[in-house]
Amino acid sequence: MADAEDKVTMRVWRGDENGGEFTDYVMPAVEGEVVLDVVHRIQASEAPDLACRWNCKAGKCGSCSAEINGLPRLMCMTRMDTLPEGQPVTVAPMKTFPVIRDLVTDVSFNYEVARTIPAFEPGPEPEGGYRMMQVDVERGQEFRKCIECFMCQNVCHVIRDHEDNKPKYAGPRFFIRFAELEMHPLDVNDRRELAHDKGLGMCNITKCCTEVCPEHIKITDNGIIPMKERVVDARYDPVAWLGRKLTGRRKKTAEEAAAG
């Protein structure tokens, strides 16, 4: 990271939707800094017009997602002393989303997908109110740790490398939302069909979403694969289909559950 004069070279992508290029900034190396600190010092000294999004500087708001040395990471949680010494530190915007300027991308794709996902849908309220046991409350907690940094969405090759898949693919962040709701005992909506319709089958479980998650959510093992198995139950497993036919058991739709 630092050369003999305790300098660090930051190779920051500068540009907008019309194009851009990397610009090198040689900055004094300061012990204990994270990448966002150095970017802020670049703003304060050499490039006041450098655009970057940030907020909490504590790894909890999910604003400062970028690609540091080619890997999606939070700038505020990437210590400079963990990066290779003596080499420029490359900082680029997230590739999957349109660039607004410099390191700031338009992540509205994610909000638009979120709007298409039906909210929590409890059935009719029983006498005495809704109740959940602690073990069921705990089950979905892992998924609620998501800070919506959208790095899983960014690294997912289904949309990162295939822009044409965006209209039919929700992405890992929303697959764990489906998982959270599907594993909620009070939610009556059939999330398996919804997840299938939103492109769960396009995921080929290469686990990059899990690798980049700053909250260490096991997105693939605990969210996507359990949902894939549930979709198999609902759509592909002939024995499960026969079982439903013989027993007459099937999941109620939200409307049916609400009607009692």
Partner: protein, 281 residues
Amino acid sequence: MTTTADSVTGTPVAIGTRGGPDQPTLRKDTWWVEPVVTVAVLTAFVVYSTWAAFVGKDYYAGTAFGRDLISPFYSPCIANSCVPGSHSFGTLPFWNYSPALLILIFPLGFRLTCYYYRKAYYRSFWWSPPACAVADGHRSYSGETRFPLILQNIHRYFFWILLIFNCILTYDAVLAFRQPYVVNGVEHSHIGISVGTVVLVANAAFLWLYSLSCHACRHFCGGQVKSFAKHPTRHKLWKFVTPLNARHMRFAWISLFGVAIADLYVRLVASGTIHDPGFHF
């Protein structure tokens, strides 16, 4: 910025001009090592297991060696060509080819559709993607939504079949404690332990761990229930297999090496290349 309609809900989805550097990857680390090693190891295994499956001999070390060891590639030995004593569970009279060719399709199917191996070969062989934040090697992508990859959804059936194989290989491992010998034309046996016994027991153990750590197993144990509170027994089962599931990749590799080593060891003993050291009680 442009928009297009979501295929299901009709909701507009933003598709803007992508900015940022137009390069396949900005990574400068050794991301290529993992796919290269995966290709090398899996290719070596496929080459070895294909040879071992077709060779059709030296898969059983029996009374002549004072042992009762069978290669996992050849168990259960149900072909016409099986050598006497090789733990037959019946014989298919019409099958005169190598017995392994009847058997290996099931473990192969299980591993081919395994969620871990899918990740491994999609990355290393198919470059889809070769590593995280490294460009996909293909122009178009439809994932596991079409034939043939939609068949990955039959993984659970291979899981159930593999449980039967695990039982048979466990039976083989138990029989490996036998050390048969012949006196006046009558077969007797000692109970003992040899290196071959340890190899077959370890092989069976790691195959069980690999199977029980499978994602389909976790689903059946309790992952599929809506409420753990209403299914306490399945919750306990789920809690038992979940830590195993976290080590699924490790068990996948160890058990892969395990079956190859077990086959090789039995082969070396059965061909008389090495002596299987051991003792009996």
